[in-house]
Structures are given as C-alpha cells and as structure tokens.
C-alpha cells in the first residue's frame, strides 16, 4: 500500500488512487460516472464498445477509460466537447445497427443505451438505409432468448461464462459486421447462473422467458431483500408491481435480480434462487380457519389467538406443559426464532421442540448451498437444537401441537403423518403456504411469506442481514413474529416484556442484549 498516492485530476476534481486503477474506477471514486457498456467491474476490461472515451491532457487521442491505468499527475476530462462528440459518434454507430424496438423491448427503462442516448445522443440518425435484419428469437438456454438485432457485441455474456462460471457456452462468431453471439453447435447455455446474463446484458439482447413481455420495468418497485432459498443468503432485488386497482391478481413479484454484496454473493445469484421465486407466491393460505366439527369457520386473529391461549394457559399455570409439542422451521427470521425460543422453550418450558425444514438439496460449489433454508445458523446460535421431527416422539402423550411452516408435509408420507397427528387432540398450523397439512389440523393461521415481512436472517457464515417487506401481506396473513407476540400477550406471560417488542428492529436489539452473537 506504500505505492498509493497517484494524484490525478478528473474534471477539476483531485483524486488520490492506488496504482493500477483504471480511469473509470478512479472516476467512480471521484463520484463521476463515465458511460460504459462493455466494461463490468467483475471482468477483465475488453474495450469493445468505446463509449468510455475520455480526454487526457497531453495525449493526442481520446483514451479508453475502462482499460487505461492512471498515472501520477494525469489530468482527465470526461465531459469536454471532444469527448461528448466522440460519445455521440460511438452511439450513432451502435444505433446504426440497433433496431430501436424499445416499445417492445423488456430492457427499456433500464437500458444503458437508452440512458446514454438521452444524455449524449439525441441526434437524428444519419443512416437512412434499412436496418439489417437478424434473428430475433434464438433460444440459447432453457429460459434465455437472444435477440441478435439488439446485441451490441459488448461480450459481457461471453466473458461471464468464461470468467465466472468457466463453462464457456457462448462465443463471438464470424467477423466484422457479421459478428454474432452464438452457442457452440447449438449446445445451450446450461449452468445454474445463466440468469445473470439477463442482468449483465446492457441492452435487451438477452431476455428470460420468465420476465419476457410480462410487464415494463418502470412499473416495478425495486426493493432490497435476501434470497431465502438456501443458507447462502444472497442479496437480491425484488421487483414488485403494486398492481392495477381494478384488475385482481396484478399485484405480484415479477422478477428477482442479483444485488451486489461482495461479502456474500458478489454480483450474482443462482438460477435456483432467481427462478425459484414463483414458488413463494403459489399456494398461499390467506384465511384464518377453525375447523369446528369438520366445518371451516373463518375467524379473526383476536378470536383465534384467545382460543389458542385458552388451550395453553391452564397447562402453563399448572406447569404441566409436557404434553405440548411444537414444530418450528428455520425459514423463520432471527426475530421469530428468538420469540419462538423465548415463549416455548424459556417461558413454557417445552421439551418437545422439533424442526421441520425443507430437505437439503445439492450445492453447486459456488453460491448455491445444500442447506435449503435461510436461517439454520441463527437457530444454532440461539441454542436451539435442530431436532428433526420424529413422529412417534411427536405424538406420544401430546395434547397440543403447534406446527410452524408447511415443510412437515414434504418430510413424511401422508398416511403415517395422518396416523400420528390423529392421536393429538388440538393441532395448530401457522403456515404461509398450503401444503396438505391443513387437512390434519384444527386451527389454520396464515403466516406472511418471507417477502412480506421485515426482519433479519443469519446466513451460513454467520452474517446477520436485515431486510424489509417487499409487498403487503397476502390476505389475512400476519408475520409469525407478530403472531408469536400476540400469542404471548394472550397467554399473559411476561406481558411487560412482550408488549415492548413491537417491531422487528426492537426485537433484534433485545436479542443483541441477550445473545452475544447478535450483538
């Protein structure tokens, strides 16, 4: 680090950067944006788009900002008339063969080419000839479609596949104006990270079938969240459409994109997470039900919680809680697990605490982990033992069973599940999704999905990441933390304590006081 101290001036702003920094990165440090299309911080610069040209004092020609390293005392201008003129020229060349079908392009609204045209272009096209026709719908992967007319040959996709996934399914074929991106002998792009190509593509050349033509980008509200589908805890953007007032079912999550967090996931997310989000929206339970003598009765939260509390309270009073069993899961947030532990383990003193989590899958050695649950680490740090459900232990001498989460149905076959659950008198299910468990239980409490609640998750490396709700709760559902707090209030245990915990942030602070890990 002693070699630091390259003092340069960019647009009259003095900056001090390390040796080997490119002009583009230095400008970023100075808070300036130099337009770039082919450059991506994760890859080796290629310098094929040539829109990042800047003027360096003393040099006769304009230089590439993305590929030129700074030298001490450099004076760079990124907005001089010459530079702007050059950018305009570059844009005009790029546009000459770009179809300008923005109205039907899914990238429109977040397209770099559009942005730069607005800033530097605004010309009448000089090319009066008809645009070149190329193939517009080429399936390069199961979910990816390549549009060669829109492609500006920045080769970000090629470089991603060769540098990050090292699978090299795409390449640039042929020469000159005939150059085109293609797969080798029609072997499709097949890896768990292909979805990143859509994010990477600066124009709308690569689109995915999940999002293609579904909506326009400017309708979407972008919120930051954490991917819950494995224990990596990748940072994501969730693009949510608040919906059209009169058309039901239009409020939904349209896509998931990678959010940069170099500590966790770099700039990428896996396809399992990216395309797994529709499953989070499917089969949602949104009604509070009490199966009273076989008939479904729709209840209010106040009523059903006081009913449950009535069942639990006598047992708590008489310190006879051995016949209560609970099944948790590690899809619950830190706050929820903490409350769960507080109420059921500490206050009620339950012995039968089990965990039902989704079955582990296989990791891929990069981002995707075998552990398909976002918060197992937190449960361990809290001192909860992740006992898997043993149906015999669960049903033996059990009067009241509270199940959190829908995963129990996936772990055991229905007949034995039904057999064992039938032995228990009162069964409560707090679940965000319908899974088949509904038919075995008496009380169904809809929980909010993970994208509908605020809280924090602890990833496998022990990083506690906060996130906030992306969309409003589905139907009558409530997040588990609020269900747990309300239940605790109804049970009248430690009332002062629980009534203080009104928000996830407050709960997290309380956790920090009690458990060193969360401090």
């Amino acid at each position: 680090m002693e070699s630091a101290g390259m003092k340069i001036v960019i647009d009259d702003r003095p900056v001090e950067v390390e040796e080997g920094t490119t002009i583009l990165q230095a400008a970023k440090q100075a808070g300036l944006h130099i337009p770039h299309l082919c450059f991506h911080p994760a890859f080796v610069p290629e310098g094929s788009c040539r829109i990042c040209l800047v003027e360096i004092e003393g040099l006769p020609k304009l230089e590439l900002a993305c590929a030129t390293a700074v030298r001490d005392g450099m004076k760079i201008s990124t907005q001089s008339p010459r530079v702007r003129e050059a950018r305009r020229g570059v844009l005009e060349f790029l546009m000459a063969d770009h179809p300008l079908d923005c109205p039907i392009c899914d990238k429109a609204g977040e397209c770099k080419l559009q942005d730069y045209y607005q800033e530097y272009g605004l010309f009448e096209g000089a090319f009066k000839e008809a645009k070149e026709k190329r193939d517009k719908i080429i399936k390069i992967a199961e979910k990816l479609i390549l549009d060669r007319e829109r492609c500006i040959l920045c080769t970000r996709c090629v470089r991603f596949l060769s540098e990050i996934t090292k699978t090299q399914e795409l390449g640039v074929f042929r020469r000159g104006i005939h150059s085109e991106i293609s797969t080798y002998e029609d072997a499709p792009v097949q890896n768990n990270y292909s979805g990143n190509l859509v994010d990477l593509c600066p124009v709308g050349a690569i689109t995915d079938t999940e999002f293609r033509f579904k909506t326009r980008t400017w309708f979407l509200a972008q919120s930051e969240s954490i991917c819950p589908l494995c224990s990596r805890g990748c940072n994501i953007y969730v693009d949510y459409h608040p919906g059209f007032t009169r058309i039901p079912g239009t409020a939904k999550i349209y896509r998931i994109r990678a959010r940069e967090n170099l500590e966790v996931n770099g700039r990428w997310i896996c396809d399992f997470g990216r395309y797994g989000f529709p499953s989070l929206e499917k089969d949602r339970g949104d009604k509070i039900l009490w199966k009273k003598e076989g008939r479904d009765t729709i209840m209010s939260w106040e009523k059903i919680l006081s009913l449950l509390a009535e069942k639990l309270r006598p047992r708590h009073r008489t310190k006879n809680t051995s016949n209560i069993a609970v099944v948790a899961n590690t899809w619950m947030t830190n706050e929820e697990l903490f409350l769960f532990k507080k109420i059921f383990k500490d206050d009620l003193g339950l012995k039968k605490i089990f965990f039902a989590d989704p079955r582990p899958g296989s990791g891929d050695g990069f981002l995707l982990q075998a552990e398909r649950t976002p918060n197992a680490r937190a449960a361990k740090e809290m001192g909860l033992e992740l006992n898997p459900v043993n149906l015999d232990d669960l049903s033996k001498n059990t009067d009241v069973l509270i199940i959190f989460g829908p995963f129990l149905a996936d772990l055991h076959d229905p007949s034995s599940l039904k057999n064992d659950l039938d032995k228990i008198r009162t069964k409560v299910l707090v679940s965000s999704h319908r899974s088949g468990l509904e038919s075995y239980v008496d009380f169904i409490l809809p929980a909010s999905g993970i994208l509908e609640k605020t809280g924090s998750l602890t990833n496998r490396d022990g990083l506690v990441q906060k996130f906030s709700a992306v969309c409003p709760p589905c139907g009558d559902s409530r997040p588990e933390w609020s269900v747990l707090i309300e239940l605790a209030k109804e049970l009248r245990i430690n009332a002062g304590y629980y009534s203080r915990l009104t928000q996830p942030e407050v709960i997290l602070k309380e956790m920090g006081k009690e458990i060193a890990f969360f401090r």
Partner: protein
C-alpha cells in the same frame, strides 16, 4: 331616502327585465306550440338526443384499436398508454407472437371506461398509432359497470 327610492326603482327595473324575457320567450314558445315557424326561438337550448351538434374534428370520443392489414391488432403492447394513463384505466397483457416482425401482441387489452377521463394521452403516447379516439361515440353510459369495461374484441370493432 332618495337613495333607497332609487334602489326600489332598480328592483322594479330588474323584475321588468325578467318579465320581458318571460313574455317574449313565452310568445315564441306559444307560437311553436301551435306549429308556427319563427326565425327566433324561445330558448337557446339544444335538445340533445334529438338534436346533435357536430363533433369537432379533434374531439376525443370512445377509443378504438386499429388493425394491421392482416386484421391483427396494430398494438404491440408496449404499455406506454398504460404508463401515461392518468386514471389507470388501461390494462394490457402481452403475449408472444410467432411472427418475429411483430413479436409482441396484446392478449388482453382492457379499457375501463368507468375510470377513463378521455384525456387522450394514450393516443398521443402510442408509437404505433394503434389507438385512436375518433369513433365519434359519446353516448357511452351503461347500466352496469361490467358493460363499461371494453376488451380487445369491443375495441377492435
């Protein structure tokens, strides 16, 4: 005292004006009742459903969607009209057309006329000249809300 007398005089003058209007107009109304045609009419009112004024050439009436030569809708469902619509009355669902020259076509196109404020922004926003408000239909009232929801078939007619 004199002033209040003047005031009184103005009161009488005022009522004489209204009385004159009444008498003159009533005279023409009576003539009309007996079928006598006069140059002047008793009222300036246009009796709307029977008498209609010609619409101005730029008048914005019921929307319509235009068709291509092969009778497919011209709309490419770019949703710019949805974007620009201030009353959020347009809803478009896109679908993939097998023809690579078209690519995107609207599988659903709904205009909720009960929300529409006839501002004409959708027409101005349309890059394909696929929507126009020149049908000249202005009597759009319906007895149910459902009838005011115009879908693709109705709009293409």
């Amino acid at each position: 005292m004199i002033r209040s007398l003047g005031y009184f005089w103005e009161l009488i003058k005022g009522s004489l004006i209204t009385a004159r209007h009444f008498v003159v107009n009533m005279w023409f109304h009576t003539l009309k009742l007996f079928g006598i045609k006069t140059k002047r009419r008793g009222a300036v009112t246009i009796q709307y459903p029977e008498q209609k004024k010609a619409l101005a050439s730029r008048h914005r009436s019921l929307q319509r969607l235009l068709k291509r030569q092969d009778l497919k809708p011209r709309c490419v469902s770019c949703m710019l009209c949805v974007t620009v619509c201030p009353s959020e009355c347009i809803y478009v669902e896109a679908a993939e057309d097998p023809d690579p020259d078209i690519q995107k076509y609207p599988s659903t196109f709904i205009i909720d006329l009960s929300r529409c404020c006839f501002c004409g922004f959708c027409v101005e926003a349309c890059p394909e000249d696929a929507i126009r408000m020149d049908t000249g239909k202005i009597d759009l009232a319906q007895s149910t809300r459902q009838d005011l929801i115009y879908d693709l078939d109705k709009l293409l007619k």
